[in-house]
Structures are given as C-alpha cells and as structure tokens.
C-alpha cells in the first residue's frame, strides 16, 4: 500500500534501460521469451547464454541480483510443480540420491524450470525498469486492444483503494470478535468477499459517471505519445537479436 512513491516492483533509476520507451522494452521481452521457448531443451549452453544475456541487461540497468532473486518468489509454485513431474512421471527411470525418478519427467521438469525462470527474470527486469503505468502506455502504443489496456489501467489505479476497503472490513470483523480459525469461518469471509464485490461494482458505476461527466466517449485520450527512435528500437531489440543468434548457433 501507500509505501513510497513508486510501485513495489519498480526500481527507480536512470539507466539506458530505464530510459528506453516502454513499447521497445515490451516487444523486446516478448521476442526474447519466444526465442527461449523455441529453443530445444537439450541445448544446455544456449540457456546458459540466455542467462548471461539477462545478467548483462541487469548490469546495465543497475538492478541488483538480490532484488531479482527476491522478486522470483512468484515462480515458487511452478518450481514445486516442476519438481513433482520426475517423481510421478512415467517411462524409463533412473536413481538419483536414492530416489527413483522418471527420465522423461526430468527432461520435462528442466524444460519448464529453465524456460520459466528466464521468462520470469526478463519480466522482472522489465518491471524493475518501467513504471506500471508507463508499461500500459507502451501497450497502448503497440495497439493492444484498448479495452484490455483500460481494464489494466483501472486495476492499477483501484488496487490500493480496494485493498484498503478489504482491510477496513477485516478490522470491522475482528472488532466484533471474529477470528478466522478453521473452515467454519469460511461463510463469513465469503460474505465479506461478496460485499466487497458489490462495493467495487458500485464504485465502478460511479467512476463511469465521473468519466462521462468529463466527456468520455469510449476512447481514452492519448495523453503521452512516447515515440521511439530507430536507435532506441535498436538498443531494445539487441536482446532478442543476440538471443536469436545463439538459437541459430545451437542447431
């Protein structure tokens, strides 16, 4: 919530990466992810090269490794799932540390883990060097569906308002002696969630009225048209371009 003036994923800075127009960075990350996903899982050294590439971007953007590591917690559920695959997988088996593991399962786990990790790191670097609202400006610029961009924009704006409302409801519940101990308390929480939904819906209607009052007619006015120079596109696309070269060499 209201801590600091920046979103928690954003790391204020003034590096080359920070200054790149958002549409260039968005497209670069997207293209990089495609190259990574298209790389056969047996090409270990290609993945190592991709990791080095991201390391170089982090270095240029002055994003510390510890920062990236902490943000990677979001990947944990996928990691757990990936670790399960060799245990429950079928086919040829091998024994590692006294455990019988499936060989195709191990390959699948490695495939998921390597590609997801590279994708997550690339996204973290994008988020760390680009303010969320600026990412949306980039999305607008890349002609992503306007409705989706608007929905994301409102989510960004009202997230804190709704979280705050949720907190007030929790305080109100607990002030009257409510404690969530076990499953029997679920109906109470569910009703709170329902009330929160209704309140948010009503707020949505009021916001819409406020928008209409100021001349909204279905289109968000484009307030920031950040244009990118050829040089900026060049810098941003260097990442997927080098990755593509690595991919080409790996055949």
């Amino acid at each position: 919530m209201g801590a600091g003036h920046h979103h928690q994923l954003y790391l204020p800075g003034d590096s080359v990466v920070h200054r790149l127009p958002p549409q260039c960075k968005l497209l670069a990350v997207f293209a990089f992810a495609i190259v990574v996903v298209a790389t056969p899982r047996e090409r270990f050294w290609a993945f190592a090269a991709y990791a080095v590439l991201l390391g170089a971007v982090a270095l240029v953007a002055r994003v510390p490794g510890t920062y990236v590591l902490r943000r990677m917690a979001i990947e944990v559920p996928f990691v757990l799932f990936a670790f399960l695959i060799p245990v429950i997988g079928l086919g040829e088996r091998t024994t590692i540390l006294g455990m019988s593991l499936s060989v195709p399962g191990l390959w699948a786990a490695w495939n998921i883990l390597a590609k997801a990790t590279l994708g997550v790191i690339a996204s973290i670097l994008l988020a760390a060097t680009t303010e969320p609202r600026v990412i949306l400006i980039g999305a607008q610029r890349l002609r992503l569906p306007a409705l989706l961009v608007q929905i994301a924009m409102f989510m960004l704006r009202y997230m804190d308002v709704i979280v705050d409302e949720m907190r007030r409801m929790r305080v109100a519940r607990e002030s009257r002696g409510f404690e969530a101990r076990d499953l029997r308390q679920v109906p109470v929480i569910a009703r709170s969630a329902g009330a929160l939904f209704i309140r948010s819906y009503e707020r949505g209607e009021r916001v819409h009225l406020a928008m209409l009052s100021r001349g909204y007619s279905g289109q968000m006015p484009i307030l920031h048209d950040i244009s990118a120079s050829v040089r900026q596109w060049g810098i941003a696309l260097a990442l997927p371009a080098v990755a593509l070269a690595v991919w080409g060499l790996s055949w």
Binding site: G2, R133, R157, R206, L209, Y216, P221
Partner: protein, 249 residues
C-alpha cells in the same frame, strides 16, 4: 431583471421518477445568474443528488427542462453541456481515475480535443488554482483526502466550466482542509452551485441558498435569512450545529 441576461443555470418544472417508480423530484424551479455562488441545502433523501445528476445530463428529465447558459440539456447537446457543467463528486476516489494527478486533470480537456502545449498549459493552470501543482506527477492515492478533493476540483476547472457543481464539498475534511478548500472556492471566478447540509459552510461561502425538500424548492433567499429562520430549518430537517450562532455582519 433584463431578459437578455443569460443565466448560468435555469431549471424549469423538473420532475423525475426512478425506474422503480420512486418519485424523487416533483417540479423543481431554480435560476442561477452568472458569477453567483449558491448553496443547495436539504436533508438526506431530499433529491439533491438526483437534481445534480440532471445538470449534466447523466439523468434525463422526466418532465421539465434544464438549461445551461442558454443551451438546453438534450441528447444532442450532451457533449457541450458536459463541457460547461463541472461536476465534483463527493468521493474523490471516484473522480480521480487516472494514474497520475496530471493525467487526471488532462482527461477532460483532452476529450474535448485539446492537445500538446495548450493541454499542458490548461493542466498547469488548473492545478495552480487549487494549489496542487507540485503534486502533478504523483498518483492520486498517495495524496491526503483534502488534497484529493482539491485535485478533483482542478479536474473540473481544467474544462473551463460555466458552472461548478460541488456535491458535499466539505464532507470528510478536517478543519484545516475545509478552510483551505473554502479559500480556493472563494478565489475562483466561476459560478458555483454547492450541494451540502453543512450549513455554516454555506453561510461562509454562499450569499444565496435554496432549500430542496420533498423534491421541490421549499425556500430561496439570502443564506443569512434562511439560516436565521429556525422554524423553516426545523420544517425541512435542517439544523445549525450545536453552539453555532450566525455571526453579526
């Protein structure tokens, strides 16, 4: 009065019933001259908000008419009307929906086709008038409630409205923020209709008041006179706060 003087706002015989059949307005008549600051007083449920929603065409009159600076509120004039009637909503979180203060103030004029340097100038000017220029690049949810309300006023000022309509401007403000807003409103050179049940605030800011009660205008006169009439106030569920006496002129 000369008929050639165009009022900022004219409401004639306005009646409205909600789709569920509840009649909220029963024939409202009121006129506000250019440059006036008028308070619209009334208890909760008197139809104040319903009336406000008619002023910029969010609700359309069941019967009667609303005219803003000579332009009737109709479907084909909506765009122009919304440019001329600046509505400041009660909850600034409803009004400030853009990622930054600056973008929010720019929203209205940008919808009206203002672009580039002209847009920057309009935004800067509006923020300056409410003393919030230094917050231009901040997200609205990092501002205090009073600051957010001032930005909400700026979002509307940026559209250079004919009339500024404020719904409960003093609600949820601490005493200092309340005074600061009063100073800002007094400094604006624009027609104001202030909907409130904060009677001292009405007395402080508006020479003239209207009492809306039971869906009609029950009284119209100098604020000082209306608030001195204890019987009139009691009849319409209005009360001065404890210990408040109307100060001598």
């Amino acid at each position: 009065m000369g008929t050639f003087v165009v009022n900022s706002l004219d409401v004639r015989q306005l009646a409205y019933a909600y789709p569920d059949g509840t009649q909220a307005l029963f024939g409202v008549d009121l006129s506000i001259a250019r440059g006036e600051r008028v308070a619209l007083l009334g208890p909760n449920g008197a139809g104040k908000t319903t009336l406000v929603m008619h002023l910029n065409g969010i609700l359309t009159a069941g019967h009667g008419s609303v005219t803003v600076a000579g332009t009737p509120v109709r479907k084909d004039t909506l765009k122009e009307i919304r440019q001329r009637v600046g509505l400041v909503f009660q909850d600034p979180d409803d009004q400030l929906f853009m990622p930054t203060v600056k973008d929010d103030v720019a929203f209205g004029p940008a919808n009206a086709g203002v672009r580039g340097e002209e847009l920057d100038r309009v935004v800067k000017d509006a923020l300056e008038r409410v003393g919030m220029l230094e917050a231009a690049d901040r997200p609205p949810h990092h501002l205090s409630f009073g600051q957010r309300r001032r930005v909400a006023v700026a979002t509307v000022l940026a559209m250079a409205p004919e009339i500024l309509v404020l719904d409960e401007p003093s609600s949820n403000l601490d005493p200092a923020a309340r005074r600061e807003l009063a100073e800002i409103l007094r400094s604006l050179d624009v027609t104001v209709l202030m909907v409130t049940h904060d009677l001292p605030y009405a007395l402080e800011l508006c020479e003239r008041s209207l009492i809306l009660s039971g869906g009609v205008i029950a009284a119209d006169g100098p604020t000082r006179e209306l608030l001195s009439d204890a019987e009139l106030l009691a009849e319409h569920r209005l009360e001065l706060p404890y210990g408040f006496a109307i100060p001598a002129v």
